[in-house]
Symmetry: C2
Subunit: 352 residues, 2 copies
């Protein structure tokens, strides 16, 4: 099943995938897993997980000021894709494109962010490439391994599965909104924005989750994508504060914006959304602490392919991510205006 083209980034991806042939032994189909999965040569039971991510748009938009953050996020974005397939990292290679300055202060700071991000998850930058370009663009390619039968993908969601988050989310949107709305840097300093990839959680979910995907595009966009790929919908709990990390709750309080926006916006973080079969929910929740997991149950799979939120008022509404995703990829560059539009779209759909 090919999901419908529903936003400009998907259209761009389709333009590539129409021409590029798949490797005959590749395990995943396009878009169906966070990292590419190919058999590990010489070991029929293992596969390589490979993923590449470029951080350029967020830097251009001015969200990150400190090259440390740029380096940190670049590494974590790619490691998070390994986490979502249940892989353990072998290492990362990077490509750094930036204007050269005499003191090389950019490189020193960005490298430190990369180094500490890798170290926090027990991996290393193996090497890379540098280019002199007018704008900053950082790319990381992470390589990992996962037992072949236990690799997690975005597909495989079953009837009535329970939906979880690996932890409270919203840090990504909270940070972006704090910057764009002009919250004081003292209230949310950039150095507090250090989202971590959930490598250990991904490993723990091997053979347990029926599907898994990271929240790098925001929690609700993740559910939307999983819905399209699995042709099954979700009924989720609309008691939003339950799902927000501390920073996200704080930014809502200070900005006066509603909590659901922290899950609705496109600047995600690196939690994992995953599904557990209904008949294993009890056992899973019981063993979770011993696996190092603190899963946050978020809802249930429904057969109707819609994203339905049950609001605290008891009312159930279907939310449609399409206008949000379209806005993300539109040419509008006034980010404050985009935030207003996000809120407007959500409210018009009945979010509260």
């Amino acid at each position: 099943m090919t999901p419908p083209e529903h936003n400009p980034e998907d259209v761009a991806i389709d333009a590539w995938t129409r021409v590029l042939s798949r490797a005959p032994d590749q395990i995943n189909a396009p878009r169906e897993s966070d990292a590419e999965l190919v058999p590990l040569p010489g070991d029929a039971n293992a596969c390589l997980a490979i993923t590449i991510d470029t951080v350029a748009e967020e830097i251009r938009a001015g969200l990150y000021q400190d090259p440390y953050t740029m380096g940190w996020v670049t590494i974590m974005a790619s490691l998070s894709d390994l986490a979502a397939v249940g892989a353990e990292p072998v290492g990362v290679v990077i490509s750094a494109s930036n204007p050269g300055d005499f003191e090389r202060s950019f490189e020193a700071r960005a490298a430190l962010g990369m180094e500490e991000a890798c170290r926090s998850l027990g991996t290393h930058v193996l090497g890379g490439d540098t280019n002199a370009t007018p704008e900053i663009s950082l790319t990381a390619c992470a390589i990992g391994t996962v037992p072949r039968r236990e690799a997690l993908t975005r597909r495989g969601i079953g009837r009535g599965d329970a939906v979880y988050l690996t932890g409270r989310a919203g840090a990504g949107n909270a940070f972006a909104m704090a910057r764009i709305l002009g919250l004081s840097v003292e209230d949310f300093p950039e150095e507090r924005y250090r989202p971590a990839a959930r490598i250990a959680a991904g490993v723990a979910l091997r053979g347990r989750a029926t599907a898994c995907m990271d929240t790098s595009d925001g929690v609700l966009a993740t559910l939307d994508q999983l819905m399209r790929l699995n042709a099954r919908g979700f009924e989720i709990d609309g008691d939003w504060p339950r799902f927000l990390c501390e920073d996200a709750a704080e930014v809502c309080k200070r900005s006066g914006r509603p909590e659901w926006m922290m899950l609705w916006g496109p600047h995600g973080e690196y939690e994992l959304v995953f599904t557990i079969p209904a008949d294993r929910v009890e056992a899973f929740e019981e063993e979770a602490p011993s696996l190092g997991l603190e899963p946050v149950r978020f809802g249930t799979v429904q057969e109707r392919p819609a994203l339905t939120a049950e609001l605290p008022s008891g009312m159930k509404i279907d939310v449609d991510m399409r206008p949000v995703v379209d806005l993300t990829t539109a040419k509008e560059t006034d980010l404050r205006l985009i935030i207003d539009k996000y809120e407007e779209i959500g409210r018009s759909q009945g979010l509260e």
Copy 2:
């Protein structure tokens, strides 16, 4: 041994490597191989080869007009790094940053170049990332495998080793100079510039070559780098036409520029420079055809760390690549002027 910082790109790389720690099981030291080498998990006798390359500067300079060429070169640049360590590719992931256009004609053409480059070497694009940016930047990360004991690196050159090229070189500089000097497109159409990575040659050189490096920065810059890393020099044959591919010879004829410039310039191709121990030269040359190799013998290793060319006149001169490399990374943007300066520097050193 750390080679001296001798150009701005090395300075940038040093700024990164000073901060980034090595993976404890990483086989290569920084800069000592074209691809990063790490043990393949679960197989003590094999290692993964991983490399990443971004093509942005050449595109910005206007050298490539057709997105097909941009895609082709991006794939080949990374596969060539695998070739230089003797690895066979598992696959490639790509990251494409470019302005979106409505028809997605850029993506279709660039994807075709990537697809055909991969197909010509029996590998595939496994997946990737897309970003909307004002300028075009294409990154490929190639992953391969090579038996651990047979991985080729840039170090290991022995006393009196013979130096070879896998084939006649100069295609890269020929193409760049044809474009910059305004040779007619009919004389050297862009579609004739399809340099191929030497994967099969790299595999054949496993366990045979003492060192190997690709010519992506130009043949003489490759020798210069090998010299610095091995603290041994080369005495090379200055009968330049012997080493030039047909296109390079043709561009010399049409432009009136000297042949050595095709090896001197920085826009290389994907031949391999490699060394063979003196006592195995005869056997190597005998078995080369059965290995699918047509090696071009270029010179001999000398203990003095200098790059010495024996000119047809019988005169021996030492050539110094440093001013050439410095010019490559200087801020000058008039490429025609840079070509004139390349020639001037070479002539002042006695090249003819």
